[in-house]
Subunit: 450 residues, 3 copies
């Protein structure tokens, strides 16, 4: 892959730099107050605050500074989720940890630049758009869709294929997100539909097109070892802890943001309890399965996303989280094998169970919440339209992307080298000895046993 990958990556970086030169500018007190007011709901309140402040004679300074210092910690929480959370969550495979955390970093760094451009241009009314903390949050958000889809194809694609998926998926995501928020004016603060369901179904569509019949009976590398499961728990915990910030980062300040935080906190806590209970219930001898613990405990954060900032009671958020934990474990246990064997969709990380099903459930929950009058900023029909367009655009976009990735020019690894870092990375020799040795011992061990 030597020259192809390097040249594609360097060329893309040149494109990004030129695009930033053409389209992006700093926020200044001039562009800041005017453009933002026309651009995003959240800014109306700020504009009011600024006006208020102006009357007291000290211009726009304090309001802007406050906004900045309020959002920056939330941005950093999201940032940790994207790079450490998603990154380490994908280190669970015994020989694919370098790729899990390493390609996660690469794709997110690429995606956040591209996401800034695409989203900025779609929302902008002039030739240039200002770059603020909120753009950084949205840029990180747009990479989340790619990282979710990455989970579905983990170990079966080349770096070049993932670059292409990143570019295409973020473009489709930005289009759908614009449709959902600007045209449908639907409510999806925590992005259960526009990020989680979208990312999952996009990834499943790609995985379906790239299905490898040679791996239908599994692959010896597709399993964890003891320490790789502990590394993955680093990812799980940072996602779990900072999810309230993810669901509240772009909520309206004050009450909505406060509600998004407490609802997500309680939904996740409830989800942990049901995920553990179900994991023990469905496994032989009641043992807990690390796959469930690493993933299903997070489903409560996904599912409560859409209605996180609505005036739902806390027990409703907890109920959503509890059900999401149950759905997710059942999905891992019963649905994933079905998908793989009947629909020929092999979903490496089970993103359908963590992001797909809980994302759809979250969209449906928002319809129920609106039917109960818990929010008046959207309608049931518009929420349904948002859910439909998110899934529809994801599947269509994913199928097209999958067909492009299937072209035999992107260095896709052969079946026997799937889930193996050594295709793309220099791997310390110790690891190779590891493998040599443990195969050997397994052999002897079995003989002893027999």
């Amino acid at each position: 892959m030597r020259f192809k990958f390097s040249l594609i990556a360097l060329s893309l970086e040149v494109v990004m730099i030129v695009s930033f030169a053409l389209f992006v500018e700093y926020e200044t007190s001039q562009n800041g107050s005017q453009k933002s007011a026309s651009q995003q709901n959240a800014s109306q309140q700020n504009a009011a605050a600024q006006q208020n402040a102006s009357q007291q004679g000290n211009a726009s300074r304090p309001a802007k500074e406050d906004q900045f210092f309020q959002l920056y910690p939330l941005f950093q929480h999201v940032h940790v989720m994207i790079f450490v959370g998603f990154g380490f969550l994908m280190t669970f495979l015994k020989k694919y940890g370098f790729s899990g955390v390493g390609f996660n970093l690469f794709l997110a760094a690429l995606g956040l630049q591209w996401g800034t451009i695409v989203q900025g241009l779609l929302h902008s009314h002039g030739l240039k758009f200002p770059f603020r903390i909120k753009n950084m949050i949205n840029a990180d958000f747009s990479t989340a869709t790619v990282l979710i889809s990455f989970g579905a194809v983990l170990g079966k694609t080349s770096p070049i294929q993932m670059i292409i998926m990143t570019i295409l998926e973020i473009a489709v995501f930005a289009g759908n997100e614009h449709l959902v928020t600007e045209i449908f004016k639907a409510s999806d603060t925590g992005a259960s539909m526009t990020i989680h369901a979208f990312g999952a179904y996009f990834g499943l569509a790609v995985a379906g097109v790239l299905y490898r019949s040679g791996l239908k009976h599994g692959h010896p590398n597709e399993e964890s070892v003891y320490h790789s499961d502990l590394f993955a728990m680093i990812g799980t915990l940072f996602l779990w802890m900072f999810w309230p910030s993810f669901n509240s980062a772009i909520a309206q300040p004050e009450n909505n943001q406060y509600r998004a935080i407490v609802n997500t906190y309680m939904s996740l806590a409830a989800c942990v309890i049901t995920a553990y209970a179900l994991s023990s219930l469905v496994e032989r001898r009641g043992r807990l399965d690390m796959v469930h613990i690493q993933n299903a405990t997070l489903a409560g954060g996904v599912a409560v996303g859409t209605c996180a900032d609505m005036e739902i009671p806390l027990y409703f958020a907890m109920t959503i989280g509890s059900i999401a934990g149950i759905i997710s474990v059942l999905g891992y246990k019963f649905l994933s094998p079905l998908l793989a064997h009947k629909l020929m969709i092999h979903d490496t990380c089970g993103v359908h169970n963590l992001h797909g099903l809980p994302g759809v459930f979250g969209g449906l929950a928002s319809i129920v919440a609106i039917s109960w009058g818990k929010s008046t900023v959207s309608t049931m029909a518009m929420q349904a339209a948002a859910l439909g367009s998110s899934i529809g655009s994801a599947i269509v976009g994913g199928l097209v992307t999958g067909l492009i990735l299937k072209l035999p020019v992107w260095n896709q690894p052969p079946d026997e080298y799937c889930f193996d870092d050594s295709v793309s990375w220099k791997v310390p020799k110790y690891r190779e000895l590891d493998n040599y040795f443990f195969q050997h011992v397994t052999h002897n061990h079995v003989e002893h046993e027999v």
Copy 2:
């Protein structure tokens, strides 16, 4: 444990959801300003700020928003300490890492729901109480007591036993905390007494009742491996770094909060130096012991907790930290073996040395500080009463809890399966090979040597 654990967990989650439906509501501008004013000291200042703001004509909005954005980052630091800090700190055992970090997540998620209810009802004057960022901080705090006690019994109890301990311990904790803060009106901002000493002595009492004479000569699983010690350092460092937030999160805003941060920062820095010095001093050939580094470096955060927000000079905070580091290492080296062999109390993580002794020392330090006039919000007698009631209620509560846990119906693991994940978790086969192999090699190795 299949059905018993699952059904207990699911039933408890239903109880939590119903309790939240009955007792908990959002904070609104109505309940926020009134109830909080009567409820917590810290709010008096806020109420004043709100009044101030109201006179300027823009109601309660700015004050509430400020408070929210000031506390939320502190909450997230505490959150990281609870889930990543405590969680990874307990992954040091070679075969008990899944349980260490996994049960930590489960117990904390359960405990924060239960802690919200119990503490809310105790502090509330009406039928319902509002749920604010401060409740989230206190909910996380209440789980810390359980996680400390969990360290004392780590590897020797079943998940069901730990659920029972969580429910009972948080109830006793909330009672004692109410007594200390509302009746004695003692000062314990960083909770050296009410959380650290309480959690340690509660856990020691439970461990004493559950003592296993079969393990008095140790257990082959009760040791670390190289990488498990590195995982544990993740926990140590996140606890160490964010401890200033732990000790300041519920301090009075402004000066008290500022002092709590800088005093904790300096106490911890000093503690690291003495802990390393003592660890080298007490070990053969001056080698450092990872057990000391992982734990005793944190004793400075525990010990400075009670007087963190008092007007003590920084060098006094550093002196407290220095002494705590020394006490803690000496405790690990000399006291833990005594406890195990003379008092029949086996303390897996040595919580007595990290939380017990430094917690008591912190309470005593606060009495000295008050005698020097460094605080006028409490008296020496009330501080002594708080220390006594914390230790007393912990021991009584722990003994009763231990007796309940001793009932032979909670699936307590037999001696030979202690400190072993495979009782409760599906463990990758690599690990089992690991063990097979290394026993084998040890054997050959010894023969070669001989």
Copy 3:
């Protein structure tokens, strides 16, 4: 090392406590507004805000509180970089992980106390100086220089040698930093010159003096294993994510701070892309090298440091980051071997490629930016003087320090025990078996192959 290390450490802690008693006091409303106004540029604005606030009748409270709550999250990000970022980045060696993360904690805890004193006295005009959040940020900063130099000598020095280096280096650093900011009045917000270039060249000078000809053909311990590379990625990611806070923490509030954040964010994203591209380009078969990914992806944060808060366009920041990623990978591939074999400077972590070259490049970039009129607070000549004095003082200070460390009384480990934890740490026996075993298997393995 038993008594020598312990006594030196304990004595130093006593010195620190006495120094804090003599020189450091809390910030109070009296000393806060007066001293800070004369002392630091950033405070002028605060003073103005306080005056403003005073006129509205509520004294200095709100302004101080705001400042505190704005800086504390930034401080915590820097704190995580120092302790988890640098700490885990240095766990990549297969047998030196305890030392990497453990000595990092010890040296940083010592350095932050010493840095507080030295910097405080240099900047203070009275006998005592107040201790604020900004002091904590600067204290953490001063330790960064030592931790960078520590990377150059990693595995080849004793704890006592590192203590001496910490004390000497921070003193020289504080002197140079005072010269750069107070005399030259140069601009170096993200400290590309005063921390990164300084720390790197100081470390290289020490490493040069301590050169071991016995290791010129390498050492069997100086390599990573699979899991140690994953631990190192924890360090890389936390450094990468929080670098915008590092570069903005001491910037002027508002616009400068905002620019420092967004420029660093974009520079780092661009740097990741070019670092991956170059790593693949220079390696056999296009494989990525973990050394590059762990380190060169961070060069964009170093290089953009000096001009992070200037009014440079975002595409300029991205260009700086892109070039830094390229320079850094090329340095690892081609320059480090040259340094080791021609100049007899063995740089264990390659700090010259991560901090040295990108730091110098960052200083030069600031001269270009000023020549374009992007900043008026400094001149090209003063920036050049700052770069020169940083490198010059580092090399002279490093050479002197190296000569002192060469005295044969500091327990420097012999060549065969380099890069080995077991010199200074109790290491679990599993690890030793590990080594026994894998040597054995390698042997057999080779025979089989032949």
